[in-house]
């Protein structure tokens, strides 16, 4: 796992969008890593799409240090940075990402953070299934991806939603094998 401090600018940026909860953070960090910026969090497929327990613990760790606040909001949670986050980042200068990486992260957040948690779930689940097919080494096409998502999610996502996610993911880099 990488330095948890690098989550702080991501949380700050996400908190400018609607419903900045832990679920949205999970999916955005997943997409950031899939674009080649390794923040060190391992993901597995869970009920609501790709999820990293390491990221969950890291988020709680930041809350314990007083750098972020996780506030219950109905059925879910909101998350935002506190003033102490600046101090923590200043103390951890040597572990921070470089400007180029932060710019790339910001572009990804700007592209995806407007999506709802559900839309992000469709997108990241579709990507995870695609990555699993890629790693299997066998040939696959869009219909195999669609069948794979249907297999694991049942009727939760419509065919149109999955197709739209497949189209959105066309430029995603190949996953690590």
């Amino acid at each position: 796992m990488g330095s948890v401090v690098n989550l702080l600018p991501i949380i700050e940026k996400i908190s400018q969008y609607k419903h900045p909860g832990k679920k949205k953070l999970q999916k955005i960090v997943y997409l950031i890593q899939r674009q080649g910026i390794d923040l060190g969090f391992k993901y597995g497929i869970h009920y609501y799409g790709p999820y990293s327990s390491e990221l969950d613990y890291a988020t709680h760790s930041l809350a314990m240090q007083g750098a972020i606040e996780i506030i219950p909001d109905g059925m879910t949670q909101r998350i935002h940075m506190t003033q102490f986050a600046e101090t923590l980042m200043a103390e951890s200068q040597d572990q921070l990402l470089n400007d180029q990486q932060i710019e790339a992260i910001n572009r990804i957040i700007e592209k995806f953070a407007n999506l709802s948690a559900f839309e992000l779930e469709v997108l990241t689940t579709t990507d995870f299934v695609t990555a699993d097919l890629y790693r299997s080494g066998e040939k696959y096409d869009d219909s195999a991806v669609l069948a794979g998502v249907k297999n694991i999610k049942g009727d939760k996502f419509s065919v149109e939603q999955i197709r739209s996610a497949i189209a959105e993911l066309k430029d995603m880099p190949d996953p690590k094998v």
Partner: protein, 427 residues
Amino acid sequence: MAHSHFRDPIHGFIQIRPWEERIIDSKPFQRLRGIKQLSLTYLVYHGAEHTRFGHSLGVMHLVTRAFRAVISNKETLFQKEKAKIAWYEQILRLIALTHDLGHAPFSHGSELVFPDGLEHEDFTDKIILDTEIADFIHEIGREFVKEYGKVYDITPELICSIYHGRNTGNPDFIFLKKFMDSELDCDKMDYLLRDSVYCGVNYGKYDLERLLSSLTAYQNENNTFLAIEKGGIHAFEEFVLARYFMFVQVYFHKTRRFLDKMLVNFLATNLPEGKYPNNVEEYLHWNDARVWNMVESKESSSKPAARLIGRRIMKCVYESPVHSDMTQIQMYNLIKNDLKKLCGEENLLLDSADKMTHKIPLKYEIDSEQAIPIILNFSEKPSTISAESGIIKKMTEPINILRIYAHEDQVEKATSYVKQRMKEMNE
């Protein structure tokens, strides 16, 4: 073939299947006899000499009982398909048996010196995939193929991919994973009881039988969730409380934390390049005894080694409340900064609970991936333990213990400063 048994101090007889016995008798698994479950905790609670070996057997035993309880309580699950149920049970048993194979010497105590980017789970994968363990798992798979058909094969890759959630081929695999990784998993069930007994404390005990008998499955249109019946809520409460008390009293004990830090400092300066080897064959040669021999041989030249051998503990001169709020965190930071100026940073050692978040019971909402739904009698919608239990609501507030230790030469100065500071703040 006949099954054999292990006599376990926690669970009594643990039944083992023939190919599982081959795994247990293998060199990578026998290595676990030399990896203490609780690192250097035995230097605090002298009974804590138990190892990952017994724990791995215990988790396999519990996961079998838990899975069977769910099958019995939720009769419609898997449509009573004998082959599928046997297959899932065997997969769970293998995940449980092998899940800790990659632990470093002294378990979590020395994880900070893994080769860059790797964690003990990565070594577990390597050991399952690249050693004789793989052959034995294939043998089990062959038996399943012979008895139930090709789709019921079990491979090392399957075991790793389900445990790490990398397998998207079957939605039931997500459900299976919850037995090993959730708010209420069999790993925690075993280690709380085991650690409690070996440490000679009662904090980690809970009503295992009631908890297991309350396990069930909750199904919505898309998923199957590991869940608990309303009647088991008090056993679940006990379980979360046990975790809380074990964290505060044992896992985050101030002396154990200090000694763990000394061990890491020692290894970082004495291992080749300050890390364990990346190569799995070489890695498997490392156990507690080898590390401790190194520590003993460096007693005269390494300060951390001398502290470990002589059990010389720096004094904890300040400790924040268990659930520190923002004001208390600020107070800690103030004291820390002043002590750095007064005593010198090199004479202080700082520690905080956020390094061990995985051991702390946390508050989970119902849509959290780690949450265990509680089935309510009066509502179709399940709830969570944090919502249903007033006690747990408090327990799952962030645990924020922050500590400052001071070098022996500085203890008097630091203690007197902290006392004065606290007096001023309370006036």
